[in-house]
Symmetry: C2
């Protein structure tokens, strides 16, 4: 799942130079931020994949566990809520839950008060898997940010949040331009 197949990439600097060469009207500063962001995220996902694989679960399953845990006790959600939360189609959710039920990470039962609904509930085992994964992840994340001072961390968090708000409250139109919604 998260193996070392991403070799042979140019360095970030080489890549930006190549962009400059092939597409002149590009702000290298902007491109540096965007490229570093996407590359960093890819590497982090590979790392998370390695960690969850070591626990015998996939990244996909980890995401389901995360959604259930973060929903709070009693750790129950419907399949379509989970699907929306994870950005999957309901059909994909059905299959994913199938697998996780078989592995004992969650249970699935009909809601007795409304028999159309289904309730997916985290098992004790599932919750423990999540905790183990979180322990690994938090060590990794702490290590990742190790070289940043407390002030740098705060600033970084604040800047990223501002960018996030900008994409969240706006939709790029056909031309790519972000138009504010509020």
């Amino acid at each position: 799942m998260g193996d070392t197949r991403d070799i042979g990439e140019p360095t970030l600097e080489e890549q930006i130079a190549a962009y400059q060469r092939e597409f002149q009207d590009l702000d290298p500063q902007v491109e540096k931020v965007v490229s570093a962001l996407s590359r960093l995220n890819r590497r982090m996902n590979v790392a998370y994949g390695r960690q969850t694989a070591a626990l015998g679960i996939s990244n996909a399953e980890w995401e389901v566990l995360k959604a259930l845990v973060l929903s709070g006790a009693p750790y129950r959600m419907g399949p379509s809520d989970l699907a929306k939360r994870l950005g999957l189609t309901p059909a994909a959710m059905t299959h994913r839950i199938d697998r996780m039920v078989a592995e004992g990470l969650v249970t699935r039962e009909r809601d007795e008060s409304n028999r159309v609904r289904v309730i997916v509930e985290l098992t004790v085992e599932g919750r423990e898997k999540w905790l183990e994964a979180m322990r690994l992840a938090s060590v990794f994340e702490e290590d990742l940010l190790q070289d940043l001072s407390a002030e740098e961390r705060t600033t970084l968090g604040e800047v990223l949040t501002r960018l996030l708000r900008r994409v969240e409250h706006a939709q790029p139109d056909a031309g790519g331009r972000l138009s504010d919604l509020d």
Copy 2:
């Protein structure tokens, strides 16, 4: 491909509060950076997906075009180099190239000097598609960073690059800890 199915997410603040509640030994500052990073990246990919879809290509095809263009003239690469570059298996690359040949974005031919090798070459049409996609992407990216001062952009780029170096030159071990390689 990149539609608006990611509704129903808690806000970043709610999510961090939930983490605190369910997993006490977690530095909220670290978690904020990591969560914002991953969320921002997800939103950006949705935006890119919308843009490439408007041009009639998929994000997957866009990545192939990008690799070829950035390799520089004459825009040629072998399937396995492309596969390594994109983090795919050679098998997936074969199929992806099939589709792109059918769409006229690239050509595939045997290398005459070594008939085991195959050369994938960008067509003029493929190069133009990439340029169109880049024009859209650069507008979006410029808009995204609009609220950041020149100084903030520089700092952000520099900090992200430092983080990137930290993941690139180190591999998380079983326990998640980053061990330097150099």
